[in-house]
Amino acid sequence: MEQLMADLKAQIIEQLNLQEVKPEDIGNDEPLFKTGLGLDSIDALELIVLLQQHYNIRIANPEQGPEIFHSIRTMAEFITAQQKQQA
Protein backbone atom coordinates (compact mmCIF):
# COMPACT_ATOMS: atom_id res chain seq x y z
CA MET A 1 0.00 0.00 0.00
CA GLU A 2 2.80 2.45 0.87
CA GLN A 3 4.51 1.84 -2.48
CA LEU A 4 1.22 2.23 -4.34
CA MET A 5 0.55 5.55 -2.61
CA ALA A 6 4.05 6.75 -3.48
CA ASP A 7 3.51 5.73 -7.11
CA LEU A 8 0.15 7.53 -7.20
CA LYS A 9 1.69 10.76 -5.95
CA ALA A 10 4.32 10.71 -8.69
CA GLN A 11 1.75 9.81 -11.34
CA ILE A 12 -0.66 12.55 -10.23
CA ILE A 13 2.08 15.17 -10.29
CA GLU A 14 3.02 14.16 -13.83
CA GLN A 15 -0.51 13.70 -15.19
CA LEU A 16 -1.86 16.94 -13.73
CA ASN A 17 1.26 19.03 -14.45
CA LEU A 18 1.69 19.96 -10.80
CA GLN A 19 5.19 21.20 -11.44
CA GLU A 20 5.55 23.07 -8.18
CA VAL A 21 4.41 20.14 -6.01
CA LYS A 22 6.70 17.41 -4.69
CA PRO A 23 5.48 13.94 -3.68
CA GLU A 24 6.30 14.66 -0.04
CA ASP A 25 4.00 17.71 -0.18
CA ILE A 26 0.99 15.43 -0.63
CA GLY A 27 -0.33 13.81 2.55
CA ASN A 28 -1.79 10.32 2.26
CA ASP A 29 -5.05 11.43 3.87
CA GLU A 30 -5.11 15.01 2.64
CA PRO A 31 -8.20 15.93 0.54
CA LEU A 32 -7.28 16.12 -3.14
CA PHE A 33 -10.03 18.60 -4.03
CA LYS A 34 -11.02 22.02 -2.69
CA THR A 35 -8.68 22.24 0.28
CA GLY A 36 -5.47 20.24 0.21
CA LEU A 37 -4.15 19.97 -3.36
CA GLY A 38 -6.99 22.14 -4.65
CA LEU A 39 -7.73 20.08 -7.74
CA ASP A 40 -10.63 21.04 -10.02
CA SER A 41 -13.19 19.24 -12.19
CA ILE A 42 -10.82 18.86 -15.15
CA ASP A 43 -8.28 17.30 -12.81
CA ALA A 44 -10.96 14.82 -11.75
CA LEU A 45 -11.32 13.72 -15.36
CA GLU A 46 -7.55 13.38 -15.62
CA LEU A 47 -7.56 11.16 -12.52
CA ILE A 48 -10.09 8.89 -14.23
CA VAL A 49 -7.78 8.75 -17.27
CA LEU A 50 -4.85 7.98 -14.95
CA LEU A 51 -6.67 4.97 -13.47
CA GLN A 52 -7.36 3.67 -16.98
CA GLN A 53 -3.85 4.24 -18.31
CA HIS A 54 -1.80 3.05 -15.36
CA TYR A 55 -4.07 0.47 -13.71
CA ASN A 56 -6.53 -0.53 -16.44
CA ILE A 57 -9.39 0.35 -14.12
CA ARG A 58 -12.60 1.92 -15.38
CA ILE A 59 -14.98 3.56 -12.94
CA ALA A 60 -18.37 2.00 -13.62
CA ASN A 61 -20.34 4.22 -11.27
CA PRO A 62 -19.49 7.96 -11.53
CA GLU A 63 -21.22 8.58 -8.20
CA GLN A 64 -18.34 6.74 -6.54
CA GLY A 65 -15.95 9.47 -7.73
CA PRO A 66 -15.92 11.72 -4.64
CA GLU A 67 -15.35 8.69 -2.42
CA ILE A 68 -12.58 7.17 -4.58
CA PHE A 69 -10.76 10.44 -5.21
CA HIS A 70 -11.03 11.83 -1.71
CA SER A 71 -7.34 11.24 -0.93
CA ILE A 72 -4.29 9.28 -2.02
CA ARG A 73 -5.19 6.58 0.49
CA THR A 74 -8.77 6.16 -0.77
CA MET A 75 -7.47 5.94 -4.34
CA ALA A 76 -4.92 3.31 -3.32
CA GLU A 77 -7.56 1.33 -1.44
CA PHE A 78 -9.86 1.42 -4.46
CA ILE A 79 -7.08 0.28 -6.82
CA THR A 80 -6.10 -2.54 -4.46
CA ALA A 81 -9.71 -3.72 -4.18
CA GLN A 82 -10.17 -3.63 -7.95
CA GLN A 83 -6.95 -5.55 -8.55
CA LYS A 84 -8.05 -8.24 -6.08
CA GLN A 85 -11.36 -8.58 -7.94
CA GLN A 86 -9.54 -8.89 -11.27
CA ALA A 87 -7.09 -11.49 -9.96
Binding site: L16, N17, L18, Q19, E20, V21, I42, D43, L45, E46, V49, Q52, Q53
Partner: protein, 202 residues
Amino acid sequence: MSNSAFITGTCIIREHQIILNEKQVFSGDGSELQDFLRAAYDHVSGQYPKFHKMDPLSKLGWLAAEVLLKNNPVLQLPAEAVGMVLANRSASLDTDLRYYATVKDIASPALFVYTLPNIVMGEICIRHGFKGENTFFVSEQFDPALLSVYPTQLLAETPLQACLVAWVEVMEQRYEVVMALVQRTGEQPLTKETLEALYLAR
Protein backbone atom coordinates in the same frame (compact mmCIF):
# COMPACT_ATOMS: atom_id res chain seq x y z
CA MET B 1 -14.54 58.92 -35.20
CA SER B 2 -12.51 61.16 -32.90
CA ASN B 3 -9.66 59.44 -31.16
CA SER B 4 -10.79 58.22 -27.79
CA ALA B 5 -8.27 55.41 -27.35
CA PHE B 6 -4.64 55.67 -26.37
CA ILE B 7 -1.84 53.15 -25.94
CA THR B 8 -0.61 53.43 -22.35
CA GLY B 9 1.65 50.37 -22.21
CA THR B 10 3.04 47.64 -24.42
CA CYS B 11 4.50 44.18 -24.06
CA ILE B 12 6.13 42.18 -26.82
CA ILE B 13 7.20 38.54 -26.51
CA ARG B 14 9.18 37.10 -29.39
CA GLU B 15 12.56 35.50 -30.03
CA HIS B 16 12.76 34.39 -26.38
CA GLN B 17 12.62 37.97 -25.10
CA ILE B 18 10.03 39.94 -23.17
CA ILE B 19 9.98 43.64 -23.96
CA LEU B 20 7.96 45.93 -21.68
CA ASN B 21 7.48 49.50 -22.92
CA GLU B 22 10.45 49.12 -25.27
CA LYS B 23 12.74 47.82 -22.52
CA GLN B 24 13.85 44.21 -22.28
CA VAL B 25 12.73 42.69 -18.98
CA PHE B 26 13.60 39.06 -19.67
CA SER B 27 15.70 37.12 -22.11
CA GLY B 28 15.78 33.33 -22.37
CA ASP B 29 18.38 31.15 -23.99
CA GLY B 30 18.00 29.29 -27.25
CA SER B 31 15.92 26.49 -25.73
CA GLU B 32 12.50 25.16 -26.72
CA LEU B 33 9.40 27.32 -26.34
CA GLN B 34 8.18 25.37 -23.29
CA ASP B 35 11.54 25.89 -21.56
CA PHE B 36 11.43 29.60 -22.34
CA LEU B 37 7.86 29.86 -21.02
CA ARG B 38 8.80 28.13 -17.76
CA ALA B 39 11.87 30.32 -17.30
CA ALA B 40 9.84 33.44 -18.06
CA TYR B 41 7.15 32.38 -15.58
CA ASP B 42 9.77 31.83 -12.86
CA HIS B 43 11.20 35.27 -13.58
CA VAL B 44 7.91 37.12 -13.85
CA SER B 45 5.64 35.46 -11.33
CA GLY B 46 6.27 32.06 -9.85
CA GLN B 47 3.09 32.36 -7.81
CA TYR B 48 0.40 30.89 -10.05
CA PRO B 49 0.64 27.07 -10.27
CA LYS B 50 -2.27 26.88 -12.74
CA PHE B 51 0.14 28.36 -15.30
CA HIS B 52 1.71 24.93 -15.76
CA LYS B 53 -1.59 23.43 -16.89
CA MET B 54 -2.14 26.01 -19.63
CA ASP B 55 -1.40 25.42 -23.28
CA PRO B 56 1.33 27.52 -24.95
CA LEU B 57 -1.18 30.04 -26.35
CA SER B 58 -2.62 30.74 -22.92
CA LYS B 59 0.83 30.84 -21.33
CA LEU B 60 1.97 33.46 -23.83
CA GLY B 61 -1.07 35.68 -23.41
CA TRP B 62 -1.04 35.24 -19.63
CA LEU B 63 2.66 36.15 -19.41
CA ALA B 64 2.26 39.28 -21.53
CA ALA B 65 -0.69 40.45 -19.44
CA GLU B 66 1.16 39.64 -16.24
CA VAL B 67 4.14 41.77 -17.26
CA LEU B 68 2.07 44.59 -18.70
CA LEU B 69 -0.34 44.90 -15.78
CA LYS B 70 2.05 44.50 -12.87
CA ASN B 71 1.28 47.29 -10.36
CA ASN B 72 -0.86 48.98 -13.01
CA PRO B 73 -3.79 51.17 -11.79
CA VAL B 74 -5.98 49.43 -14.36
CA LEU B 75 -6.17 46.56 -11.88
CA GLN B 76 -8.15 48.87 -9.57
CA LEU B 77 -10.87 49.55 -12.15
CA PRO B 78 -14.29 47.86 -11.83
CA ALA B 79 -14.19 44.32 -13.24
CA GLU B 80 -16.66 45.22 -15.98
CA ALA B 81 -14.51 48.16 -17.14
CA VAL B 82 -11.61 46.10 -18.47
CA GLY B 83 -11.99 44.16 -21.69
CA MET B 84 -9.91 42.43 -24.30
CA VAL B 85 -9.55 42.21 -28.07
CA LEU B 86 -7.15 39.49 -29.13
CA ALA B 87 -6.31 37.95 -32.48
CA ASN B 88 -4.03 35.44 -34.13
CA ARG B 89 -3.48 33.37 -37.26
CA SER B 90 -3.51 29.76 -36.02
CA ALA B 91 -6.42 29.92 -33.56
CA SER B 92 -5.88 26.95 -31.19
CA LEU B 93 -4.50 24.63 -33.89
CA ASP B 94 -1.25 24.04 -31.99
CA THR B 95 -3.22 22.48 -29.13
CA ASP B 96 -5.90 20.98 -31.37
CA LEU B 97 -3.26 18.78 -33.03
CA ARG B 98 -1.82 17.60 -29.73
CA TYR B 99 -5.30 16.85 -28.45
CA TYR B 100 -6.13 14.94 -31.63
CA ALA B 101 -3.04 12.81 -31.10
CA THR B 102 -4.36 11.75 -27.67
CA VAL B 103 -7.77 10.76 -29.08
CA LYS B 104 -6.21 7.67 -30.62
CA ASP B 105 -5.54 6.41 -27.08
CA ILE B 106 -7.48 8.11 -24.28
CA ALA B 107 -8.55 11.67 -25.00
CA SER B 108 -6.97 14.18 -22.64
CA PRO B 109 -9.51 16.36 -20.80
CA ALA B 110 -6.74 18.77 -19.82
CA LEU B 111 -5.86 19.36 -23.49
CA PHE B 112 -9.48 19.42 -24.63
CA VAL B 113 -10.29 22.48 -22.54
CA TYR B 114 -7.70 24.48 -24.51
CA THR B 115 -9.04 23.60 -27.95
CA LEU B 116 -10.51 27.07 -28.43
CA PRO B 117 -8.38 30.19 -28.98
CA ASN B 118 -10.44 32.40 -26.69
CA ILE B 119 -9.48 30.33 -23.64
CA VAL B 120 -6.40 32.52 -23.32
CA MET B 121 -8.73 35.44 -22.60
CA GLY B 122 -10.47 33.39 -19.94
CA GLU B 123 -7.15 32.66 -18.26
CA ILE B 124 -6.26 36.36 -18.20
CA CYS B 125 -9.74 37.27 -16.91
CA ILE B 126 -9.53 34.66 -14.14
CA ARG B 127 -6.09 35.89 -13.12
CA HIS B 128 -7.07 39.57 -12.90
CA GLY B 129 -10.82 39.34 -12.28
CA PHE B 130 -11.77 41.09 -15.52
CA LYS B 131 -15.39 40.80 -16.61
CA GLY B 132 -15.51 43.30 -19.47
CA GLU B 133 -16.37 42.52 -23.08
CA ASN B 134 -13.84 40.39 -24.89
CA THR B 135 -13.47 39.15 -28.45
CA PHE B 136 -11.01 36.91 -30.24
CA PHE B 137 -10.47 37.31 -33.98
CA VAL B 138 -8.70 34.89 -36.29
CA SER B 139 -7.08 36.52 -39.30
CA GLU B 140 -4.40 35.52 -41.77
CA GLN B 141 -2.07 38.31 -40.70
CA PHE B 142 -1.68 40.90 -37.99
CA ASP B 143 -4.44 43.37 -38.80
CA PRO B 144 -3.67 46.81 -37.31
CA ALA B 145 -6.81 48.34 -38.78
CA LEU B 146 -9.12 45.86 -37.05
CA LEU B 147 -7.14 45.93 -33.82
CA SER B 148 -7.28 49.72 -33.65
CA VAL B 149 -10.79 50.52 -34.87
CA TYR B 150 -12.69 47.94 -32.84
CA PRO B 151 -11.11 48.67 -29.41
CA THR B 152 -11.52 52.40 -30.07
CA GLN B 153 -15.20 51.79 -30.67
CA LEU B 154 -15.47 49.71 -27.50
CA LEU B 155 -13.89 52.44 -25.37
CA ALA B 156 -16.10 55.10 -26.95
CA GLU B 157 -19.42 53.30 -26.87
CA THR B 158 -19.36 50.78 -24.01
CA PRO B 159 -18.56 50.89 -20.27
CA LEU B 160 -14.99 49.75 -20.97
CA GLN B 161 -12.33 52.07 -19.58
CA ALA B 162 -9.38 49.89 -20.54
CA CYS B 163 -8.78 47.18 -23.07
CA LEU B 164 -5.98 44.73 -23.70
CA VAL B 165 -5.33 44.57 -27.43
CA ALA B 166 -3.06 41.82 -28.65
CA TRP B 167 -1.83 39.56 -31.38
CA VAL B 168 -1.07 36.24 -29.68
CA GLU B 169 0.18 33.65 -32.14
CA VAL B 170 1.74 30.25 -31.60
CA MET B 171 2.22 27.23 -33.80
CA GLU B 172 4.72 24.62 -32.63
CA GLN B 173 7.95 26.56 -31.94
CA ARG B 174 6.89 29.72 -33.79
CA TYR B 175 5.28 32.29 -31.56
CA GLU B 176 4.73 36.00 -31.17
CA VAL B 177 2.89 38.26 -28.75
CA VAL B 178 2.32 41.95 -29.31
CA MET B 179 0.09 43.35 -26.58
CA ALA B 180 -0.99 46.90 -25.88
CA LEU B 181 -2.92 48.32 -22.97
CA VAL B 182 -5.41 50.82 -24.35
CA GLN B 183 -7.28 53.44 -22.32
CA ARG B 184 -9.48 56.47 -22.84
CA THR B 185 -6.75 58.96 -22.06
CA GLY B 186 -3.07 59.04 -22.81
CA GLU B 187 -0.46 60.45 -25.12
CA GLN B 188 -0.04 57.89 -27.87
CA PRO B 189 -3.24 57.48 -29.92
CA LEU B 190 -4.30 53.99 -30.88
CA THR B 191 -4.27 54.05 -34.65
CA LYS B 192 -3.52 51.64 -37.45
CA GLU B 193 -0.14 53.34 -37.85
CA THR B 194 0.90 53.27 -34.18
CA LEU B 195 -0.15 49.64 -33.87
CA GLU B 196 1.68 48.71 -37.04
CA ALA B 197 4.80 50.47 -35.77
CA LEU B 198 4.52 48.54 -32.50
CA TYR B 199 4.22 45.26 -34.37
CA LEU B 200 7.24 46.02 -36.53
CA ALA B 201 9.38 47.19 -33.61
CA ARG B 202 12.46 45.04 -33.00
